[in-house]
């Protein structure tokens, strides 16, 4: 039977701690300063003002959120700025119990893809849902429901996707 005698020497975490496996350590921290460019910078500026902006492509009629310079389908420059609403419908949603480093969260967080009203069909953004019972996510009742952005107070906004605290349902789930 192939593979025959696959080589390799497994070890366990405590082999490191108890000195049976010699090792070296390192770490990584790189800081970046990104130039945002015309389109994302205006998007973040819009968020600071409590507005969600998209770009319109005349050739195919798509409205893109987040806005972008090039229509990826027509491979031409998008034409106009459009303000889409801060309401949308839940395309999909999940309940997260873990952080990015896989440690447990103190309390679960609801994450969703929200299709914004005013953008083209299927143009979703990633964000949190609030004021929702996790049970309604687990049984998928929240899918397709209308939600609206809950914004930070204007003075606390910094021009970030986090200027929206979360989206909350505006119709019965």
């Amino acid at each position: 039977m192939k593979p025959e005698n696959p080589p390799g020497t497994p070890y366990k975490r405590n082999d490191l701690e108890e000195g049976r496996v010699l090792y070296t350590e390192d770490s990584l921290e790189l800081w970046y300063r990104w130039s945002l460019g015309k389109y994302l910078s205006k998007y973040l500026e819009g968020l600071k003002e409590g507005r969600i902006l998209g770009r319109y492509c005349k050739a195919c009629g798509r409205i893109y959120v987040p806005p972008r310079e090039v229509c990826q389908y027509c491979f031409r420059e998008t034409d106009e700025w459009v303000e889409v609403g801060d309401t949308g419908r839940v395309n999909t949603a999940v309940v997260s119990y873990i952080q990015a480093d896989r440690s447990r969260m103190d309390k679960p967080l609801i994450i969703a893809v929200i299709e914004l009203e005013g953008a083209s069909k299927g143009m979703g953004i990633l964000h949190r849902l609030g004021e929702v019972d996790p049970e309604d996510v687990i049984n998928r009742k929240i899918f397709g429901k209308k939600v609206k952005a809950v914004w930070k107070p204007p003075e606390e906004r910094t021009g970030s996707v986090n200027d929206i605290l979360y989206f909350k349902p505006v119709e019965e789930v």
Binding site: L28, W31, S41
Partner: protein, 149 residues
């Protein structure tokens, strides 16, 4: 208008087990000795030692203690990573080795401590200065620096 966005890419910690080829080297460091790998098929010594010969792909079965170390190249650092002046320049040498007068392929880059700059000539014999035995962990920093003989 917001034009700049700051973020970081970080990994809090990496752990690198020494592996098969590094084992003999690490044990040597702990004892205050340096070992080169020897490929019997290619008749070739290699430093740092690996577990296999990159040319013929055979497994390395012999590790030999080096008998001579000499300075092949050096560079002097006047500034740190951020471009600021160092209080004292740091010298890094490229150290080559021999085993019983046979040349060893490759070598090590390490710090060089020089008391008398006039002795710093290419080809001069150098010796590793190890940390005290109880502080050695089988890593390259078990050698504090090399000195000119």
């Amino acid at each position: 208008m917001k034009k700049e966005f700051r973020f970081k890419i970080d990994v809090p910690k990496y752990i690198y087990p020494i592996g098969r080829g590094g084992e003999k080297f690490a044990e040597g460091l702990k004892k205050g000795e340096l070992y080169a790998a020897y490929c019997e098929i290619c008749d070739n010594y290699m430093m740092p030692p690996s577990a296999y010969c990159p040319r013929c792909f055979s497994e390395i079965k012999k590790y030999e203690k080096v008998t001579n170390a000499y300075l092949d190249l050096y560079t002097i650092l006047w500034k740190d990573f951020e471009g600021k002046d160092l209080e004292e320049p740091i010298i890094y040498g490229f150290i080559r080795f021999e085993v019983d007068e046979e040349p060893v392929e490759g070598g090590l880059i390490h710090r060089l401590k020089v008391d008398d700059p006039s002795k710093m000539v290419l080809g001069v014999r150098v010796n590793p200065i190890f940390k005290p035995e109880e502080e050695r962990r089988g890593t390259i920093t078990d050698i504090e620096y090399f000195v000119i003989e």
